[in-house]
């Protein structure tokens, strides 16, 4: 008696959803051991986590605020990966967007709405430029995009640090920060007493827009086609290089928006901790969402909830806050395993109808 994998002919739609939920559940079950080891009650700990992420209006808004950059970087990675442009550089693109956008946001005497619009455009442009570097290297010189986009993250990060510890350092503060953006450029707060800022709306709007782009435009069609089979796309008359560059620019632009939302809505300046790895987490979000723009929202909210929830759980039960990262990492692995079952089914061997064993 044994088990084996067999290729599936087709994958029913419900299975995709069910497997995603099962993967999340499996991750929570697997991580229960760590909670128990820390001497806490597993159910109780998860309950605190859930409550502090969704329990009241404030908790909910905090989760949404945390989810905002993740939604945008998740979308960024999803678009790039659809084209099989392996953009590991959303982190650097986010930082580039934050720097350029923050600089523009510091322009004096610009009315608020215009300042915000300019910051968004500048931030997206900064991210797009940062993404075009590895894309051009790949298209023109066949440089591996995984490596180049990853390494550019370090370049952008340390360039940013050099700026804010040097020429761009805020003279009014002793810390390595950039000068703040103009007050008028601060994103409005949508709900009194919370941090729910306008950027949350931008992220929420970006999801259906990216979905429309991918599903309803010739560009989205071409991005999908190039990712699935670049050779056949070229044969069909699609200009593969141009599609790759465009996808890279859109991806980088979305990551740049994530950076500008953090600047405009939370920090109002650039500093070393502007991103806690949102760009990298975006990769995981995109994978969890199966590169589907609509799936990015639940994936990002799940991750944000784990982050906010883990802090509260840590305070209440003494379980280390690092459990959040463990859950996130485990969720990715269980998701990858779940992906296997969309392509294969498990069969029991040696059953009554099977081929007899020797």
């Amino acid at each position: 008696m044994g088990f084996r994998l067999e290729p599936r002919i087709s994958t029913p739609a419900w299975l995709n959803v069910a497997l995603s939920l099962a993967a999340v559940l499996a991750a929570l079950v697997l991580c229960a051991g760590l909670i128990a080891l820390a001497g806490a009650n597993v159910i109780g700990a998860y309950a605190i986590m859930f409550e502090s992420a969704f329990g009241d209006v404030y908790a909910l808004t905090e989760t949404l605020v945390k989810a905002t950059p993740l939604v945008l970087t998740g979308l960024a990675v999803a678009v790039a990966f659809r084209a099989k442009f392996w953009n590991i550089g959303a982190e650097g693109q986010l930082l580039a967007g934050a720097v350029v956008g923050c600089w523009v946001g510091g322009f004096p005497h610009v009315p608020g709405p215009i300042a915000i619009a300019l910051m968004l455009i500048a931030g997206a442009a900064g991210g797009a430029l940062a993404a075009l570097v590895p894309a051009l290297l790949r298209v023109r010189l066949k440089v591996d995009d995984v490596v180049s986009s990853l390494l550019i993250n370090s370049i952008v990060y340390y360039a940013m640090m050099a700026l804010i510890e040097g020429p761009w350092k805020d003279r009014m503060s002793g810390y390595p920060n950039s000068p703040p953006i103009q007050d008028a450029a601060n994103f409005p707060i949508l709900m009194e007493g919370t941090r729910l800022h306008l950027g949350v709306v931008f992220a929420a709007l970006a999801v259906p827009l990216v979905w429309l782009l991918m599903r309803r435009t010739t560009l989205g069609f071409a991005i999908n086609a190039v990712g699935e089979n670049a050779e056949a796309s070229a044969y069909g008359g699609i200009r593969v290089d141009r599609v790759l560059l465009t996808a890279a620019a859109i991806s980088g632009g979305l990551a740049g928006l994530a950076g500008i939302c953090e600047v405009g809505g939370i920090h109002f300046q650039v500093m070393g901790e502007i991103s806690t790895g949102y760009g990298y987490t975006g990769i995981v979000i995109a994978m969890l969402a199966r590169l589907n723009p609509l799936g990015v929202i639940p994936a990002a909210v799940f991750f944000a909830a784990v982050m906010t929830g883990a802090e509260a759980m840590s305070r209440a039960t003494g379980v280390p806050v690092f459990l959040a990262q463990v859950i996130q990492g485990t969720a990715l692995i269980t998701m990858l395993v779940a992906l296997l079952f969309t392509a294969y089914r498990i069969r029991r061997t040696g059953g009554p109808a099977g081929v007899r064993a020797t």
Binding site: E6, S10, N229, G237, V355, A357
Partner: protein
């Protein structure tokens, strides 16, 4: 008492969802059998072999080898039971020598490879079956035919008593195929068993000692003396209906639709073009014969706009093709059927409908100002699916799920949709069954009769003879001979394909 059969598959049933891919199939191979396994695509041949090699687990049925029931989980298991398979795509390490390819994957605990013994075994195989390869040659330097021979030698070397050959002649010249048949007969005489999967009925009749025909997952019949059966009889058993050969009518020739004058290219999938000139006129099919790797790939890619010429001129419908761009070739009125429909022709991960408009994405009504119209695309696809009788669950079905014949129909439906003036088709019926082949041939002849021109690149001489008005032979990137089909014989074309000296000079 006779010896137990090498292989006895009993009542093999494999169900996918609603469809029974194999429905109670019995298959027996005795020592000395060369069993021709025939059937249309989708008849269940591949599934049956996948069950035999453990890729799929049968829902019912039993497998006996030399009289004993066995369970096979993978191809290594199969090999340990003495069953070897030679696939259409080879599994060789190109940067290793012939000998090293025999040694890799060898089971055993010793760290030191026993080259001397391997050489002895290689000599045995040469003596017994007439299969020989210089042991120290690099695999990358072997021709396709030699690589196939190495696959067979590898299986024999590892102790196979039963060989499965999946469409082995598709990549061979007629002379190479004859060599393969001789080896098959030698194996048969020494009590080995062979399952020979092929679509070419003439070959099966020539070499098989027995035939089993599958249809709709069941055994439709078996033929005890294939040599005495006619093609028509076997075809009827395979298709369940009569197959009529394509009819060629006399048509008036129009002006040139595709002209190459003194074109050269860089190498592509073998030789590049070397100073090639040819003309296809409206109302004719120009066949290009040749062993794969002699420039056919470069020719097809060049005309399709996938490969730039390094010299010379290409004209489509009288207009020069200035840019090497597929969209440009299409704009000038070219339809294209690429050699590798899965890799070059179609995006198998996308839907049938999406593939139907892949080359016309930017055109109304499929898209307007960058916005696509799923409705128009679906409507167009549905109409084409019906017109070309494409068997699929619907326009939204993933193309990769479909059989080779249906994939080729999608390509035809797409490329013929705007009535191209000229068509370049590379290996358009490779791997297709009789029914699908006939469908493709009928479409080509229809086009020709309407005054369109076709450049037909094929390694299947029978196909070229049946369809072409003229046949040109490529060798080493050059056209080494051209003749009206009425003057072409298999021998004459075969000699040119092998690079024999011709009246036009050395190849």
């Amino acid at each position: 008492m006779t010896a137990p059969p090498l292989l006895d598959m009993r009542g093999i049933t494999k169900v996918f969802g609603e469809a029974k891919a194999n429905d109670g199939i019995d298959l027996v191979v005795r020592p000395g059998d060369v069993l021709g396994l025939l059937g249309e695509n989708g008849a269940g041949k591949t599934t049956l072999m996948n069950v035999l090699f453990g890729t799929y687990h049968a829902d019912a049925g039993e497998i006996f080898i030399a009289g004993k029931p066995v369970r096979i989980r993978n191809s290594a298991d199969a090999l340990s039971h003495g069953i070897g398979m030679v696939h259409q795509h080879f599994h060789l390490a190109p940067r290793l020598s012939v000998l090293e390819n025999l040694l890799i994957g060898q089971k055993g605990r010793r760290l030191v490879l026993d080259r001397g013994r391997a050489l002895e075994r290689l000599d045995d195989i040469r003596r017994d079956f007439g299969l020989w390869l210089e042991p120290h040659r690099m695999v990358s330097s072997l021709s396709v035919g030699e690589q196939q021979r190495l696959e067979i030698v590898k299986a024999l070397y590892r102790g196979a008593r039963l060989l499965i050959l999946d469409e082995p002649t598709a990549v061979l010249t007629p002379a190479e195929a004859e060599g393969l048949f001789a080896a098959m007969r030698a194996m048969s005489e020494q009590g080995f068993g062979i399952v020979f999967i092929s679509h070419k009925l003439a070959e099966v009749r020539a070499v098989a000692t027995r035939c089993v025909v599958l249809r709709h997952g069941q055994v439709a019949g078996s033929i005890e003396r294939p040599g005495e059966a006619t093609n028509a009889e076997i075809a009827r058993m395979m298709c369940g209906r009569d197959i009529t050969p394509p009819e060629r009518r006399a048509v008036a020739l129009h002006g040139p639709v595709l002209e190459l004058s003194r074109v050269s290219t860089r190498p592509r999938g073998g030789a590049g073009l070397d100073d090639v000139s040819l003309t296809v006129r409206g109302g004719e099919i120009l066949g290009i014969a040749g062993v794969s790797g002699n420039g056919q790939r470069a020719l097809a890619d060049l005309v399709s706009g996938m490969l730039a010429a390094t010299g010379g001129e290409i004209r489509l419908a009288g207009e020069p093709l200035r840019r090497a761009a597929p969209a440009e070739a299409q704009r000038l009125g070219l339809g294209r059927i690429p050699e590798d429909r899965m890799k070059t022709g179609l995006v198998t991960g996308m839907s049938v409908a999406d593939n139907m408009i892949l080359s016309r994405l930017a055109d109304a009504p499929f898209s307007r100002r960058g916005w696509i119209s799923p409705k128009a695309i679906r409507a167009f696809a549905s109409e084409r699916i019906e017109a070309f009788d494409i068997r699929c669950p619907g326009p939204e079905a993933r193309a990769g799920m479909l059989s080779g014949g249906n994939l080729q129909k999608i390509l035809l439906a797409r490329e013929l949709a705007h009535d191209p003036i000229a068509l370049v088709a590379a290996q358009p019926t490779r791997g297709l069954d009789i029914g699908a082949t006939q469908f493709v041939h009928d479409r080509f002849l229809e086009m020709r009769d309407r005054g369109r021109g076709i450049l037909l690149i094929s390694e299947d001489l029978e196909e070229l003879m049946a369809l072409s008005d003229r046949i040109a032979v490529m060798y080493g990137g050059r056209i080494v001979g051209e003749m009206p089909t009425t003057e072409a014989t298999i021998e004459r074309v075969g000699l040119l394909m092998a690079g024999a000296e011709t009246g036009r000079g050395r190849a």
